[in-house]
Amino acid sequence: MRARGAAVLIALLLLSPGLAFAHRIDEYLQATLLTLEPHSLQGSIRLVPGVLVASDVIASIDANGDGVISPEEQRAYAQQVLNSISITLDGRVVETKLVSWSFPSLGQMHDGLGEIKINYSAALSDGGRDHVLLVATHNLRQKLVYLINLTVPEDRSLEILSQRRNPEQSVYEVDYEQKTAAAGAYDTTGAVVHVWLQGIQFSPLFHLGMRHIAEGTDHLLFLLTLLLPAPLLAINHRWGPRLAARSSMLRILGIVTAFTIGHSITLTLAAMNVIHVPSHPIEVLIAVSILVSAVHALWPILPGREAWIAAFFGLIHGLAFATTLDRLGVGHWERVAGILSFNLGIEAMQMIVVAAILPSLLLMSRTRAYSALRIVGAGFAAIAALGWTLERLFELQLPVDDLVNALARHALWIATGLFLLSLLCRVLLPVSQRIQRVEVLSELSAASTLP
């Protein structure tokens, strides 16, 4: 078929020199598609020798002239083509590397139908935001015509600003911007931090973290229940007088921080695939953790050790967070950045909730009504926790989720109502007894031994 095609073609050329053919004739087309990634460039070249330049091209490929294009000659020609291309990034020379190449049959090439394909890659150095990439081809022996284009980058962090070419398209220049690098590795820590701070807050994982806390009522219930007795001092296994506002604040801060440290450790370990824990026992332990903090809010079982409880159970809650975090990327840095985004989302939501509830706790704790709040709150948490424990342990269907979610749906109203109620109590009720400063200090020293 090929041989016949060539024969027909040559016959037509001889008989009818004026006949034009439906394909390239005396040109050698070099068509390049560039693919840009944050740290590399891929070039894909198609070389199409026209029928009248084919023999000349074949001669330069078949270096020893034996009529056969050996694998060595293919490689040498591909390298020769690559050597004719010079690439610079921001004025610095970029090394290119042959990736693959394929050659058509000699018959196809003689017919002017052959397409030589050469793929190369180049590593692009890291760092910086604005870049200029230049790809210039120095003519091979034959008369070349060029096409060069850039494919739309898959990586959204790369934005193409402008492209320039000389009239022949043998010199091509592109300005681009590397907006964030959450998807790639960087070697300078400064660049990492800079880029992360920019990228993290826009990350979908950040929002996932926030949503996980907002919707994962068990995590919040644990923390809030643990905060309930925070403004109080335990005396003789009973919750007694209130602490000064400053001490209460410090204690709440300590509890929240301890919880954060705890869950961050296990979340990171699990998300990096260092530890694997089945999710079912974790869910049961989380329900138990709420029960423990509820009991503690009713009777001080571990007075002054709330931070330790928070840290310990934080480790368990972190494992649960990790199970929702299955959409991390594959790259090492990508995962780390993803975990950080997710964790910051969790922290942000936690802060919002604590900030919303803190003023009420502090105000109310100055009145006798606080005991009522503490007991009702802890009682509710204890019932929910018991329900969850039974549900998760024996795979029962109890209306616990419905109950808690019904309350959670009105969280904003409850928080507002609680604040108004605490204001009301503060105005109407006499201020409760306050502990002596000396005792506070000894109490504080116990509370401040955080993990």
């Binding site: 016959a11 050329l13 009818s16 020199p17 004026g18 394909h23 005396d26 068509a31 015509v145 398209q169």
Partner: protein
């Protein structure tokens, strides 16, 4: 009260009828196409039928198309030449059902151009001095070829005035060397592809339920202007005229953006370049006047309207919705006038669209290749994945 109830009932019935008949209409068209396809297949012998049938996901057959003559790049399926008159009639009937009248005419004119090429050769072959084609202006009437499209040194001198190839060109050129093939079984529900093509033509029509997709499709012509039965025929003439009108309607600052400073010697996303997206260049349609935008859509319609009305309308709605993100780029001279083919290259590109019009350097005004793609939906991949 009763009056109002009756009125609302009437309106509701009317609305339902309109909606339902629209639905039935869309269904009928696919059913008609399937019917025509089945009728054609029924005329074939078992051996022929096997030859035209491929699996829906046959990647090799999907990509087996080209601008080149079928003698160089063999197509799948069977050609009109290999058919009996009855089979040929059924094949043309199928095309007439799936294509619009305009689309069928375009396809026929491309085939007629190949007949003309077979009979007369190129009027201005490389190297031959040649004369202007009869009944048409000289190819370089528009101020010469774009930068770099210099007259090539040709294969010897000789008589440029279209020597008549005396042998073997029967296997190379002519309006009967166009092949038909099917990927998947014609169906009103499951997707299938109808391919029809040869030299300078490749229609890849994916039909998925009531939807029809024409991408990727290649049209081309050499000669791009010829006379047949005393009439001047330009198979891709409107593609040339409409684009020229748009570029000439641009003001200086628009033109500065639209007209590229470099030559584009060929299609960037021609055969074999399925699904690729390049960074768009030129003038963004959002900076055009409403009138210019309408002109741009008018150019696009030369490709979208190849398919029958139903498929064309939904495709045009998509492209219209993308208009703000659509680009128009031009390379080559902007002078010239309607009626003679441009020697310039142009590209229209949007989120779901690539159109390229690429004059070939051997005869820039008389030899053109075009490509029509949806990088997100070549062979209906975007539809069939849903």
């Amino acid at each position: 009260m009763i009056n109002s109830f009756r009125r609302w009932t009437a309106i509701a019935v009317l609305a339902l009828t309109v909606v339902f008949s629209g639905f039935v209409q869309a269904q009928t068209t696919t059913a008609e196409v399937v019917n025509a396809a089945d009728k054609f297949l029924a005329t074939l012998s078992a051996e022929q039928r096997q030859k035209v049938s491929y699996a829906f996901d046959d990647e090799q057959q999907r990509a087996r198309w080209s601008n080149l003559p079928t003698g160089f790049v063999p197509r799948g399926g069977i050609s009109l030449k290999q058919m009996t008159p009855v089979q040929r009639e059924a094949a043309i009937k199928l095309l007439a059902t799936v294509l619009s009248p305009m689309g069928l005419q375009k396809v026929n004119e491309i085939r007629e151009a190949d007949d003309d090429f077979k009979a007369n050769g190129s009027r201005r072959g490389p190297g031959g001095p040649g004369g202007p084609p009869p009944g048409g202006p000289p190819p370089n009437a528009q101020g010469g070829p774009p930068p770099g499209f210099g007259r090539p040194g040709g294969p010897g001198g000789g008589a440029g005035q279209g020597g008549r190839p005396s042998f073997s060109s029967d296997e190379m050129f002519g309006s009967n060397l166009y092949y038909i093939s099917f990927l998947g079984k014609p169906s009103t529900t499951t997707p299938w592809i109808l391919q029809f093509g040869g030299h300078h033509l490749a229609l890849n029509i994916t039909i998925a339920g009531s939807r029809g997709v024409l991408t990727p499709t290649l049209t081309g012509a050499q000669p791009a202007t010829f006379s047949l039965d005393g009439k001047t025929v330009r198979p891709l003439g409107r593609e040339s005229d409409k684009a020229l009108a748009l570029v000439q309607s641009l003001n200086d600052s628009q033109r500065k953006q639209a007209v590229l400073n470099y030559q584009v010697p060929d299609l960037v996303l021609g055969p074999g370049q399925d699904g690729k997206k390049i960074v768009p260049e030129g003038l963004k349609a959002s900076t055009m006047t409403p009138q210019q935008q309408a002109m741009l859509l008018g150019i696009v319609a030369e490709w979208t309207d190849i398919l029958n009305e139903n498929a064309a309308a939904s495709r045009m709605a998509q492209i219209t919705a993308d208009l703000k993100e659509t680009w128009f780029a031009w390379s080559g001279p902007t002078d010239g006038k309607a009626g003679s083919n441009i020697t310039a290259y142009y590209r229209i590109q949007g989120p779901h669209l690539v159109i390229e019009y690429a004059p070939q350097h051997d005869e820039p005004a008389n030899h053109v290749h075009t490509i029509y793609r949806d990088p997100t939906n070549d062979y209906g991949t975007g539809l069939t994945r849903q």
